[in-house]
């Protein structure tokens, strides 16, 4: 008897596999989930998700928060890809608003010359590398 575990974040899959036990830092306390657990939905605190796989291995994943969904045969951890919280989100929002003011004032860094040049150099280097490879193949 095992339970399937999926740990996913918005930016991609983190882990997927079979497990005997899953431990997660729920908002109201640490949760241990065995196969055939009742369907459950809760928020996660920053902390460690521990997975005991069917081969007896233990795997650890640090999550900065997220949502945990449990079905009898399936555990899904919807992990946040970054640390968050009221204050952090608020700061980020302020930064975005500040940027908007800059845009309106016309102080936008629209043409990032340094970056453009760096990219051009990179493109040329890649081209040269590609040419060399071509030459070798002949």
């Amino acid at each position: 008897m095992s339970i399937h575990v999926d740990i996913v974040s918005a930016e991609g899959d983190i882990y997927s596999g079979e497990a005997n036990w899953v431990f997660a830092p729920g908002r109201l306390g640490e949760l241990g989930i065995a196969p055939r657990h009742a369907p459950l939905l809760t928020e996660l605190k920053p902390g460690e998700v521990r997975v005991e796989t069917t081969d007896g291995e233990e795997m650890f994943f640090y999550v900065t928060g997220g949502v945990l969904e449990v079905q009898p045969h399936l555990v899904t951890v919807l992990a946040d890809s970054a640390l968050r919280g009221e204050d952090l989100d608020e700061d980020a929002a302020l930064a975005a608003r500040e940027k908007a003011r800059e845009v309106l004032a016309g102080r936008s860094d629209e043409i990032d010359l340094a970056q453009a040049q760096a990219e051009l150099v990179e493109a040329e280097a890649r081209y040269r590398a590609a040419q060399k490879l071509k030459g070798k193949r002949r």
Partner: protein, 286 residues
């Protein structure tokens, strides 16, 4: 007609340009592949979270979250995703045109608009118009992080929650295939209720703490995952458009070089003919 040397210099310079456009085309092609993988990777999260929302709204029918309520429209918000850099054909221009049509429609109805801009190209464009830009961010790069977008999104969702805006739209380029990308205007808020048919084998969860308290966090994450996905998709579109544009530029440069080569040969031939004529003329005079 230009002299042989002039044409030769010109050919050399066009060849250099061609090298660069060719390189950019190849770089865009490889980046496109990587971005498409990233698009795939973001799908499971978005799908799961949508199912969770379906369950949540089903679980507490009497609790109406502001995100799920439709209000009369007095002011609307737009989150606009554009590229940071140019050289990608008409990708941004087509999108801005679609947005302008939309904005004009709202103006006719007497509805005001707030804009949230992601990407340097949209900053440059909308700055010149008399628009109300409330949030902006740029240079999220080809590997965007959700964390880079949270600020801009929070500004808009807060405005919705406080009732400043009554509807939130999201504009990005949808990736159809390498040759075609469409500007897409999607509604972010209010969140469309999930079809009950989508919730196969319906059962209820245990909620910790309560369904009402969970809804907030889940909905915010849902919105973020949607915007994130749109930003990734827009990067894919940028790369595809850049690839096509650079391919065309490379081909044009090739045609240009052929023409110049032809001119050069003609000039050379003319010079030789003239020289022979001069020698013959000189010999006859002697």
């Amino acid at each position: 007609m230009a002299s042989g040397k002039e044409i030769r210099t010109k050919i050399a310079s066009v060849k250099n340009t061609q090298k660069i456009t060719k390189a950019m085309q190849m770089v865009a092609a490889s980046k496109l592949r990587k971005t498409q993988n990233r698009m795939e990777a973001s799908r499971p999260y978005a799908e799961r979270i949508r199912t969770v929302i379906g369950h949540l709204s089903e679980a507490n029918p009497d609790y109406r979250h502001p995100y799920l309520d439709t209000r009369d429209v007095k002011r609307v918000g737009y989150i606009i995703v554009s590229t940071d850099r140019g050289l990608c054909g008409s990708l941004n221009v087509n999108m801005f045109r679609a947005i302008l049509a939309d904005l004009r429609r709202w103006e006719d109805e007497g509805v005001e608009t707030d804009l949230c801009l992601i990407g340097a190209k949209s900053h440059a464009f909308f700055r010149r118009l008399r628009t109300n830009i409330v949030a902006a961010t740029s240079h999220v790069g080809e590997v965007p992080k959700v964390a880079d977008l949270v600020g801009a999104i929070t500004t808009m969702t807060d405005a919705y929650r406080e009732g400043t805006i009554d509807r939130l739209f999201f504009v990005y380029n949808r990736f159809v295939n390498t040759m075609s990308q469409n500007a897409e205007i999607a509604t972010l808020l209010p969140v469309e209720p999930v079809d009950k048919a989508e919730l196969q084998e319906y059962w209820d969860y245990l909620y910790e703490p309560s369904a009402g308290e969970l809804v907030d966090g889940v909905l915010d994450r849902y919105i973020e995952s949607q915007v994130y996905r749109g930003v990734i998709e827009n990067v894919a579109c940028e790369m595809a458009a850049k690839m096509v544009a650079m391919k065309a530029a490379t081909e044009n440069a090739g045609k240009f070089i052929d023409q110049l080569q032809l001119d050069y040969n003609k000039a050379r031939q003319a010079a030789i003919t003239q020289e022979i004529a001069e020698i013959v003329g000189g010999a006859a005079a002697v």
